[in-house]
Symmetry: C2
Subunit: 198 residues, 2 copies
């Protein structure tokens, strides 16, 4: 009973933190503001998460579980059509996208507590994407690309489109643009490697 109530509170706090980070970024999000949003004093919040950084870590971990959960195949790889669905889904949740875009931007600064998280995560996501591309299209992709070379492009496209979309949703149709990219990756014949890398 107590446990359940506690877990509920923690979930509330994490949700509020996500919102605050979307609005102000991690550095700009103050503990008091988060606490106020869940109807707690700042000290009450610190009872659940002892430091601000611990709170951020909890947010990141929750998210990590969240989106390594759905959308993957039994062998752990993604399906490319589900990737497109994910982008469509994201387009309906600007809040979440904004949270992680703001966080990603901050994370490149020195000593940011999310930096290591994102670094590790991108390594993992690139590998996952490469596996997906290989499963879907085999070894040869358009332009003589290998799955390993195409994977970072896929990730970059998703992230990059998010920023343009967040800044100006009316001018950028994110899901359509991402589909365009997938078309590009699909529609063309795979030729011999044009500029092989070592």
């Amino acid at each position: 009973m107590v446990r359940a109530r506690s877990a509920e509170r923690r979930a509330e706090i994490l949700r509020a933190t996500l919102e605050m980070i979307a609005e102000r970024g991690y550095r700009g999000a103050s503990l008091s503001a988060v606490a106020e949003r869940v109807g707690l004093s700042q000290q009450g919040l610190l009872h659940y998460f002892p430091t601000k950084e611990a709170l951020l870590v909890a947010v990141l971990e929750e998210r990590d579980q969240w989106d390594t959960g759905g959308g993957t195949r039994s062998d752990g790889t993604w399906r490319i059509d589900l990737l497109a669905s994910l982008v469509e889904y994201n387009a309906m949740r600007p809040g979440i996208v904004q949270t992680f875009s703001a966080l990603l931007g901050e994370s490149v600064t020195e000593g940011h507590p999310a930096r290591e998280f994102f670094t590790r995560r991108y390594t993992q996501v690139r590998a996952s994407m490469a596996a997906m591309l290989r499963a879907e299209y085999g070894e040869r992709l358009p332009g003589g690309l290998t799955p390993e070379r195409a994977a970072p492009l896929l990730v970059a496209m998703m992230d990059g489109l998010q920023y343009q979309w967040l800044l100006d949703p009316d001018s950028v149709d994110m899901p359509a643009a991402f589909q365009d990219f997938l078309t590009l990756l699909r529609s063309t014949e795979s030729s011999a490697p044009e500029n092989p890398r070592s």
Copy 2:
């Protein structure tokens, strides 16, 4: 003489500000820290730029001039090979890239002073890219894309790669990856539109 010295100081300040933003982001960059870096008191700095926001605006304006200057053709459009060169150039200046990536990330948060700047800038850059693509490849691009539809992809790719590269330069060869994308945009036959948009 005085004027020259003053302009020199301003330039120093702007350079230091760029550094500080790269290290801590805009919100995390304090006036005192910037001032110290140029050997001024915080109030001495405020003599040149009356508010923190004015300082940021000056940084953005300087950058705006800077990179709408080189690389464009007489008619104001870019050349695509110069775009690849720009990416290569950026790969040698992690500081600058970091500054603007951090700023872009922050700018999606509410009420950020750089938000309008980036919004306007991306609109303009997309238009510029579309013009370049049209000049270079004509109306039909691979996958049935129009220049207007490919333009945001080009921009997104540049931005997205920057984040991956900043987080893990050893794992991501940014210029090569961008070249891969350009190859993708080039190497394939232009087919009829597959999924035309309204």
